[in-house]
Symmetry: C2
Subunit: 383 residues, 2 copies
Amino acid sequence: MALASRLVDIHTHVYLPRYCSLLRSRTSVPRILTSTRDGKPDDRLLILDHEPSGGRPVGPQYWDRDEKLKFMDRHGIDLSVVSSANPWLDFLPASEARTLASQLNEDLEKYCSDSPELSLSLKRFYGFGLLPLVPEISTDALLESIDQISKLKYLKGIIMGTRGIGKGLDDEALDPVWAALEKAGLVVFLHPHYGVDEKAWGDKNNGHVLPLALGFPFETTIATTRLILAGVFDRFPSLRLLLAHSGGALPQLSSRLASCIEHDPVVASRLKHDARWYLGKLYFDAVAYGPEELGFVADVIARSERFETGGSTHAPATGVDRTLGSRRMLFGTDHPFFPPLTSTEKWKSVVENLEAIDAVAGWGQAEKEGVRGGNALSLFNLV
Amino acid sequence: MALASRLVDIHTHVYLPRYCSLLRSRTSVPRILTSTRDGKPDDRLLILDHEPSGGRPVGPQYWDRDEKLKFMDRHGIDLSVVSSANPWLDFLPASEARTLASQLNEDLEKYCSDSPELSLSLKRFYGFGLLPLVPEISTDALLESIDQISKLKYLKGIIMGTRGIGKGLDDEALDPVWAALEKAGLVVFLHPHYGVDEKAWGDKNNGHVLPLALGFPFETTIATTRLILAGVFDRFPSLRLLLAHSGGALPQLSSRLASCIEHDPVVASRLKHDARWYLGKLYFDAVAYGPEELGFVADVIARSERFETGGSTHAPATGVDRTLGSRRMLFGTDHPFFPPLTSTEKWKSVVENLEAIDAVAGWGQAEKEGVRGGNALSLFNLV
């Protein structure tokens, strides 16, 4: 049972050196702007439109595996399932995206395979690969990419944004992609980048707060809801989708969603189940920064069984077993984002998420160890 | 203690006859389109852009007080605090909005004062008035409107959207308005209308589901967050703000919001407290359609005290007392929206919200009766 107490980070990003070179060569967002300040190198990463204060400072923690290992060791993280950070290949023409996806998948495989061993059978690093999900890409190219990733020993899934090949993830053109991902058993890590239209944020200077705190989770919520409404989980019931930031706002809006669907017979008739049922088929990272949030997500997962038949007579039962819900929740850090403002031993963003797991009311040691690492080892077939 | 078991609906809308006349006279949204179908009158309400199926059928339940009373009697609702429905006066030029606000406030006062008695000291109806919150309105006109409402015996608050006088609710120009509302003790019912940019919904036919299920709560979440970030609750600590749809996604995103603020020293330094503290100063309707959602909102209200000093050392305690949180939550129906699809004795949307209150784990009879009506009677000084 030693494995059960491993700490596994499934939400941790890298800009691989090859990708950084591309970002440095660019003159528009996304880019890395290289300059000097007071005679020292001052690299700035610009990935969102209108980045405040000239972009965020970037350094080796964004691309250097040794820095990631130091971060892991400092926080007691045994194993990381690393993913490329947003905006991935979204901004590239199809042919370039296809070539780069293939190269970055090989790079990430090497990043993992060369990494230190955690045990006789485990490395410190595993990875989520990339598909060239951009407009005008061919289905064949996407399937070829899935085939490549499924043959790379240390890649256990893919990360993707919400645009698909231009029309979002509810595009039927992606059905062959879902089918291939389901068949290959690859976990799909759904991650936001675009937020919602920035006009919503008004004209006050609130830094990154509104797009990051609200826009990111809204985007994940919308994308997942559109997947539900398009019947993707009905057609691909074994697809394993992992949602960033604990599913954003989807858990809290899921009963409202179910009610809105039920009041629209055209939409309701397309779905096999009440909307809340699908939430029990998803996986959620535990990157929500608070124990009440995590406990609630577990409740929403656990209650999903009440909604299996899709009917309209689901009288709510008092209480759900949130220990059951914990099994689909997985610790993450969002490293290297949210670094501490001052030099400290541990990152507050990481400590908060660990403390949150530890403080969920109703979770015992088994549930907490599961969320800290055991669930990830199971999900990625590492046990 | 008879009052404690009253059922009070604080989220119930009306289009007053004077407002309906205006909507019928208009040729663009918002409007009521009057036509006939199979020889019968077929009135359609169009309040959102691109309404599916030619708008929603409207009838007397939207304007006739007797219909509202029938609905209340059918569902055992003793008392309703009625509000004009979106989009209020948002689309009118300032002078017209000012005149109409005054007239509609008088109309609503009469709607309430002429209503049947519930007891010696209570009527069946109370109301939220309207301010002419439109661009180019003068502060004097807004203050005059608040003065009018505060002198109308049956109006206990105001309903407002999120645009303020054009720049949103975080506009400093509204400070005199918040000050006057706070001083008058009027409850501010914050309600969405615009959602977020519709491009987010994609091009599939999902009826109203995405803008209503997600867009509405996103809008409330953004507006309330912008109020927090602008320091409005620091400057007006006695302002009583009631959030539609249980605060949308704000509870679930509140720890993430706090973390994002803490990682942005410019924003953090402006606020007196951790973002989560402010949620304990708000009121939430209980229109969330599920018991897990309601219990979670109560948890988030209850935990707010942990975050009072605004520091960065709030170790999460295991468990919160969600009975405390219940005191700021109030039953609502959203009538006359979400009508049943077929003729039934009771509206499913109402039954779901009542069942949800009844099924919240950890709430006893006192908490349930509070959310069903006791909290509303206290908030509106009706006891």
